[in-house]
Amino acid sequence: MRKQNRFGGRFVIGLVFLFLYLPIFLLIVFSFNAGDSSAVWQGFSLKWYASLFENRLVMESLATTLLVSLLATAIATVAGTFAAIGIYSLTKKWRDPILVVNDVPMMNADIVTGVSLCLFFVAFFNGWHGFAEWFNSVQHAITLPEQLHLGLVTLILAHVCFNIPYVILNVAPKLRQMDKNLVDAAQDLGCTWMQAFFKVILPEIKPGIVSGALIAFTMSVDDFVISYFTAGSSTQTLAMAIYGMTKKRVTPVVNAVSTLMFLAVLVVLVINNIREMRQEKMAEKRASFEPVKPNPFIESIREKLATPQGRVFRRVTAAVLCVAFVATVGLLTAFTTSVPVVNVCSWGEYIDESLIDQFEEEYGVRVNYQTAESNEAMYSLLKSGGADYDVIVPSDYMISQLIEEGMLEELDYGQIPNYSQIDDRFKDLPCDPENRYTVPYTWGTVGIIYNAAVVDEEIDSWSVLFDDTYAGQVLLINNSRDAIGVALKYLGYSMNTTDPDEINEAFELIADANARGVYQGKVMDEIFQTMEGGNAAIAFYYAGDYLSMVENQADGVDLRFVIPKEGSNWFVDAMCVLKDAPHYENAMKWINFIASKECNLANMDYIWYASPNAEALEEYPAYYEELYGEELDEETYEIMAAPEDVLERCEMYVCLPQEARTLYNDLWIKLGI
């Protein structure tokens, strides 16, 4: 009976550990996969690791992560150590409550810490803005920057802030163990307090400081949530970069970088645990007055170090380490903040990344390339004041909204000669009728994507989104404008209607279908992985993205695209520059560069979205043939660049008045899921 129980216990422990470690194990295994599948093993290869080192996004964010972690750890270690000493010089009455207060930030949800820090910084920036304006107006000797933004500095401050409690937590027990008389003894023997600190306290609590620093460092490297809220728009840590990379699909590159991160943290933790175990042993021996047998090797080193030459050696080593630290931090700083720059915010997988390198080489301007999830998400980020982008790539309706709110800067078309190559169809757009703010980036349509392996019929109507035929297999786009828009179209109304009854009717259609369980979920970029894997049958999304899904679709999945007979939305995404953009000149260079025929061809090939550059659009089939040695499928080309008759069925969004926008928002929140 007993034996069986024990077996049962072991079995449960085994299961628990399997559950804990199997996912990580799989991740590590698949980081060595020769193919790009996350499910099928196709042989051993190190190519993903190799491509890691060529991936500029990864390398840059790695540099940022190291810089932030090193600096934050250093600052937090010093601050935390002194704080712990301060706490220990208080009376018991105060000390214990303060130590409890110290625990709270560690237990606190990261998201709360992150949001509150973000709020704090933005509030401070607002206050600073007022002060700097006043200060600059009363004197002219010193000009203070009036606009501050979230960035590297706030990121480091945030990391320092959440690291300090960990340092205190590790240093405090060492202080408790320390004989209180040691400091008195040192002062008695002629030390000032500071000398006593360096000569006696520091060596005694050093183990606690080191493990505090190690833990702070791993916490910094690991952190995603707090960084996400405090890094602003132009800075990105490794964790944030990985998150950005997984938005569309988990590529083996992500596996590789995650594996490396896991191993790095593991190594630090193992080192820390070994150290702690050794010290516990020493402490036990000390407590039992058992003579500690000196390790002859360590003793011989210690003796050598105690000689005058040894002391010189120690000082030299310490100096070298300090210089190395400063140099590392300096180099990383130079790497992450080398000027000049241009901050670009676009959508996920919406550029051929080699173009960024090309631009940087040609113009010597570094590009901070960030991505946002949707027009709405970007809009709220801009509104919160947390962004310092120069160039953004919003869609048409968002452009008119931004213009209306005075958030865009007029472009200097004199610096953008390539604008002349833009097809006339994409000039004089309703959102920018006088061509003052925009240079079109791509254009395309929205249509139904379905898996023909599951769906037998030819689909030609939005009705499949609302009836029960494919209940539980339909993905709804998580974007009120698009979702309600197609419902309006299906009902025969304009997508731009401002009639609340029509909008409500369209919404009821969705809400009703939702109540009946038609929708599997509300998605944005997750749609790629779901559709490619055949995990949903029907969705509607952008034509260009459909083509990239087809490229990656799993075996047995047969994706098709259709623009329903009721008509649909067609859109233009255009490059704009934000008001008060910190790098206006560089932004002009970037826009002109991207508007060129060569860039448009490269982008069109890479992201499958149609180019607004007239020559590029026309030449693309030839470009494709030259590149791949085969003819471009006519149908594919028409999906990319919808022909005139299809576009006639489609409508372009215009900016809705405020009441309608509020109604959209309220309805969308009501929908839930």
Partner: protein
């Protein structure tokens, strides 16, 4: 020996509402061995820490060689301390522990334009080495200099602590219960050794202990403290033979303390009987406390006795028997080499010099009855109890 080195004048120490030192006046002579003796919480450690500079008195003055040093920090005082449980630096070996103070440099006083200028001067390595080795010689630790201090026994650590303090050639050495953590035998050895070192080096020792035997054995002067006040200052003999009040009488050695009345000079009445004594100068019929040391009592046959009682317990102590005798409901401790069986009736005789008459004080009636003999003994000999309380007091800083 007669020159005054340290003076505490009207020193008060209080935390919040609690008064730890209550107007202390104390004069400490150069080169003397002075012991602060008292139970836990009596203020002896606080007094020591005020002299060491770790505490500043709430009011009153601390004078060193005639200069006020209230605000001089510890590292600028010509005083060194041996701490409770040694406070050796665990990360340094024996040599480096002892050399610690020397490496901090030596204070040199220079006269410049009429004002004194003090500055720290580095001591050459060769001199440090020589002085440390000399000191290790004195404390019998030659050959241990490379050992980590964590690898030493308690007694050896104690010696390192003493060497570490003395190597700086302080004018005064403060010792805070230095032998508390040692076992009985080692303690006796170290007592002698400390006395020897003090005489050899000719410096002032201020020694804190709760152990009266230790105090009597080593000191030139004993200061008995209780409740933040000095109860008596004197040589060990004075303190033992002429205790000023019931507390001192009880704390120093064993005593039977009996309510009595002075009927005339040299005549004291206890248990309604008059006895010859040597004490004079009291009012007629003044109520007094009478101390009779257990060894000053002779046991005689019941018929010959000045007082008659019943033996209630006998404990063999080696040299003598601790005999508890009930006289009219009051239990006496008598130390005698004569064995009297439990339950036997006996008489006692006391010579006139066996009576010590004291004025009544706040301590009257609190001590002297041996009906609870064993408990009291335990309390005095329980060092752990004392340590904890001392630490709490230190925490209050």
């Amino acid at each position: 020996m007669s020159k005054e080195l340290i003076r505490l004048s009207n020193c008060v120490m209080s935390y919040d509402d609690e008064i730890v030192l209550d107007h202390i006046d104390l004069s400490i002579q150069d080169k003397e061995f002075l012991t602060l003796l008292g139970p836990s919480g009596c203020g002896k450690t606080t007094t020591l820490r005020i002299i060491g500079g770790f505490l500043t008195p709430t009011s009153g003055d601390v004078l060193f060689d005639g200069h006020r040093i209230n605000d001089v920090p510890p590292h600028k005082r010509m005083v060194n301390t041996v701490f409770q449980r040694y406070a050796l630096f665990p990360h340094l070996n024996v040599f480096e522990n002892v050399a610690f103070g020397l490496r901090m440099g030596q204070t040199v006083v220079e006269q410049e334009g009429g004002s004194e200028i003090r500055r720290k001067v580095k001591i050459p390595e060769a001199e440090i080495h020589q002085r440390v080795m000399e000191m290790l010689e004195i404390v019998n630790l030659r050959g241990f200099e490379k050992r980590p201090v964590t690898a030493l026994s308690g007694g050896q650590q104690q010696r390192v602590a003493i060497a570490r303090a003395l190597v700086n050639r302080p004018k005064v050495l403060l010792l805070d219960e230095p032998l508390g953590a040692l076992d009985m035998r080692l303690r006796k050895d170290m007592q002698q050794e400390l006395k020897r070192i003090q005489q050899e080096m000719e410096i002032t020792f201020i020694y804190v202990t709760h152990d009266q035997e230790e105090a009597l054995a080593m000191s030139d002067t004993v200061v008995v403290m209780d409740g933040g006040r000095i109860q008596q200052v004197g040589s060990p003999e004075d303190i033992y033979n002429e205790p000023r009040n019931a507390f001192v009488a009880d704390f120093i050695g064993e005593s039977n303390i009996i309510d009595g009345v002075m009927r005339a000079d040299c005549v004291v009445e206890i248990f309604n009987r008059r006895f010859q004594c040597l004490d004079k100068g009291f009012e007629k019929d003044e109520p007094v406390d009478v101390v009779i040391r257990p060894e000053d009592v002779d046991i005689v046959s019941e018929a010959e006795g000045q007082l008659k009682g019943t033996v209630t317990s006998v404990t063999f102590k080696g040299v003598h028997y601790d005999t508890i005798v009930d006289f009219y409901g009051f239990k006496w401790l008598i130390q005698t080499t004569d064995f009297c069986p439990e339950g036997s009736r006996i008489g006692i005789k006391i010579d006139p010099d066996g009576f010590h008459v004291m004025k009544k004080s706040q301590y009257s009636g609190m001590f002297g009855d041996y009906s609870s003999y064993s408990e009291e003994y335990d309390e005095i000999n329980d060092p752990t109890l004392l340590d904890e309380e001392e630490e709490d007091a230190a925490d209050e800083e």
